[in-house]
């Protein structure tokens, strides 16, 4: 009798567990469909033989690679790819140097103006820099850097300083100061401590800063529109955006193919490193 009730109860628990699980699976699959459908649509469209938005049915009737071929033979797309790669790489290098140097100074030294400097950085990082585009445009025209990649790189590298300096400084603060002091006793200079101790230990945050600075030129379509003019100077984001703006009905499938070639490397990089990115962001913001 006693045994029987236990068994009954177990069955009940099993059944309710089963239903619960079934519901969860159903919800998970439904959400997956909502997320995947637009992505699938754009992927399939890029193989569609037509050119326009109207004609593209979800499943292409005569799948073709012709739009990918067009990208490389009839447009500036390969040039844009190289431009973006170049801007992203240089921006990443300059940004990491600027940010880590200043974060090291703010984290490890007491000097006059330190607090004011940190405070100013905190306030400045809240200003969306593209709102000052008129001033940036005139400044770059004075420097003769309009329609040049260097102009764009300087704006990117300058704009990221306040936020990333705080992010790095927070991480550097977490590296024990006793390490520096021990090295100092052994006769190490400030620069040696920075290069040999701080940088290796701060690898996670430096990776994050490098990565975000490498990726931002792939996303940004605002500054290139302001600074760059000629087609051979464009970046990918700007070029693709222009296609959709100007010719959304005539070259839709070409846009789809281009979008996929941009999205694939960035998405893979991101999914692969997402844990890293989210951890870095949250540690910078909460624990700092």
């Amino acid at each position: 009798m006693n045994k029987k009730t236990v068994k009954n109860k177990n069955q009940k628990v099993n059944l309710s567990n089963f239903i619960q699980r079934a519901i969860i699976y159903a919800v998970l699959v439904m959400i997956s469909i909502v997320i995947v459908t637009p992505i699938l649509w754009i992927v399939l469209s890029s193989f569609n033989s037509g050119t326009s938005l109207f004609s593209s049915s979800l499943i292409p009737k005569n799948p073709t690679l012709v739009h990918y071929k067009e990208l490389f033979t009839q447009t500036d797309f390969p040039k844009w790819y190289m431009n973006t790669l170049k801007i992203a790489t240089i921006n990443m290098i300059i940004s990491v140097i600027l940010t880590t140097l200043s974060a090291y100074a703010f984290s490890r030294f007491k000097f006059k103006g330190r607090k004011q400097g940190l405070m100013a950085m905190m306030i400045l990082q809240m200003f969306p820099s593209f709102l000052a585009m008129t001033a940036i445009y005139i400044l770059l025209s004075k420097l003769g850097l309009l329609n040049s990649h260097w102009g764009l790189i300087l704006v990117y590298a300058g704009g990221q300083i306040p936020y990333n300096t705080w992010l790095c400084k927070g991480y550097f603060d977490g590296i024990p100061k006793s390490l520096d002091e021990a090295a100092k006793i052994d006769g190490a200079s400030n620069m040696t401590i920075f290069v040999k101790i701080i940088l290796p230990l701060a690898r996670p945050i430096i990776t994050l800063v490098a990565l975000t600075n490498f990726m931002s030129p792939w996303f940004d379509f605002i500054f290139p529109q302001i600074i760059l003019k000629s087609s051979d100077k464009k970046t990918l984001a700007m070029g693709l955006f222009d296609w959709v703006q100007k010719q959304q009905n005539t070259h839709f499938t070409r846009f789809a193919a281009g979008a996929i070639l941009v999205a694939i490397p960035i998405t893979i990089l991101f999914v692969y490193l997402q844990k890293h990115i989210v951890e870095g962001l949250s540690s910078g913001a909460t624990k700092g």
């Binding site: 649509w41 200043s102 100074a105 490890r108 000052a132 585009m133 704006v155 999205a263």
Partner: protein
């Protein structure tokens, strides 16, 4: 008179004199050169600053294809740059006086003056942090601070089309007139209030939805006994991983008038839906797409928090007979809220300025004829962008920018003041 006083007075009179008096010839010459260069360029400074004050007296005209006359906006930027340089020179001047005083006091105590090589080593050691931050400071001054000051300054001018647009016209300082206009002129304050209200609604609803949808996704993917967790998590992170400008453009095309969603609806016998041309529908679309884009970030964040919650808490609760709901509301929710609160506020500030989503999805449309240069889905930042880029209403754009900046900076500063790193700095 004491030696230290003498050399200090020399340095006040002319940069570097005190140092030369202290027999630090090299240092003294460098200071003296800086002052000399500044004095020789007196004309440049006075002309630039005068230009900033007057903003020019003659609009540009052409003589034999060469532009003559004044361009008010160039004058403004040049004036600001001159002031920035002058500010740096004054800083050097103060350093020069302090240095003369300090060195001469050291000499009085019987220490030897440094030779050039020792001097450089001394500088490198003592001013190491200053040297480290100099490049970052220079970038910040010229690419962030200067543009911001320019933007603020424009709010006090009449820089706008059609009557005050250089090079054909001059721009003048107008004091607080623009601020008065945005309060008093009906068309401006109507637009400002409605766009501002929609901005707040948009930011609150998007952030709240992202947060809770993210939490639900995280709970589902962390539920006990679910297989393929990794597969689901990877799918759910996709919208965060794909470059936003691509996914938003795809959404815009998919839901556009002749797009596939409407095609599907009509093949099912349902009439077409005006996703982006009906004001209410367009607002709903904006919110839906923003949740599609933003929820995965919170899911990834909360998955981390959830896996870190000590399992013994739940075991203890189960022994005490707590229901699943009680476990969730008394253990999970408070812990998650506590850990993610600062990010919630940051996310609000981010959505408040979520330019890319609005600009790419609807471009602020449909146009509302009661608004000045704005559409129904425009938020403040996209309205500012339109006024600057398309309408040349720089003066009003700057006024709204200032208001927006104060609001967002206030929120972020508040949330930031709660973080540990801020408290450790003991900044206020």
């Amino acid at each position: 008179m004491k030696r230290s006083k003498q050399s200090t007075i020399f340095s006040v009179l002319f940069m570097g004199l005190g140092q030369i008096f202290n027999k630090e010839i090299f240092k003294g010459i460098i200071f003296a050169i800086i002052e000399l260069v500044t004095i020789l360029n007196f004309g440049y400074f006075s002309k630039s600053i005068n230009g900033l004050i007057t903003l020019g007296d003659k609009p540009q005209y052409f003589v034999d294809g060469i532009a003559k006359g004044d361009h008010s906006i160039f004058l403004m930027i040049e004036g600001l740059i001159a002031i920035a340089i002058l500010f740096l020179v004054i800083l050097v001047y103060i350093i020069n006086i302090m240095d003369a005083k300090r060195v001469s006091e050291a000499l009085e105590k019987g220490e030897n003056p440094l030779n050039t090589r020792e001097f450089f080593k001394h500088i490198w050691d003592k001013y190491f942090p200053h040297i480290m931050i100099t490049p970052a400071i220079m970038f910040t001054i010229f690419f962030i601070l200067l543009p911001i000051i320019f933007t603020i300054a424009v709010a006090f001018t009449n820089y706008s089309s059609p009557n005050h647009l250089p090079p054909r016209n001059l721009v003048d300082w107008v004091g607080l007139q623009n601020f008065k206009d945005i309060i008093n002129l009906k068309i401006w304050n109507n637009t400002f209030l409605h766009v501002g209200l929609w901005t707040v609604i948009f930011a609150v609803v998007t952030t709240a939805c992202n947060y809770f949808v993210g939490l639900i996704l995280a709970l589902l993917t962390n539920a006990k006994g679910i297989k393929f967790k990794k597969v689901f998590r990877t799918i759910f992170i996709l919208p965060y991983a794909i470059p936003a400008f691509i996914s938003v453009l795809v959404m815009r095309l998919a839901f556009s008038g002749p797009g596939p969603v409407n095609n599907m609806l009509s093949s099912l016998g349902i009439s077409k839906v005006a996703f982006f041309t009906n004001p209410f529908m367009a607002k709903i679309m904006v919110l839906v797409v923003c949740v599609w884009l933003g929820a995965p970030y919170f899911m990834a964040l909360m998955s981390g928090v959830l896996t870190n919650i000590d399992n013994s808490l739940y075991e203890a609760a189960e022994i005490d007979g707590a229901t699943k709901w009680q476990q969730f509301s008394k253990i999970t929710l408070p812990l998650v809220l506590f850990q993610t609160m600062p990010l919630l506020i940051m996310s609000f500030a981010y959505n408040f300025n979520n330019f890319a989503a609005i600009y790419l999805l609807t471009n602020g449309n449909p146009v509302n004829s009661n608004y000045k240069y704005a559409g129904d889905t425009d938020i403040l930042i996209s309205w500012i962008y339109k006024m600057t880029k398309d309408q040349n209403q720089f003066h009003m754009a700057s006024v709204v920018t200032i208001v927006l900046f104060i609001f967002v900076a206030g929120i972020s500063a508040y949330s930031f003041s709660k973080t540990k790193s801020f408290k450790e700095e003991d900044m206020m």
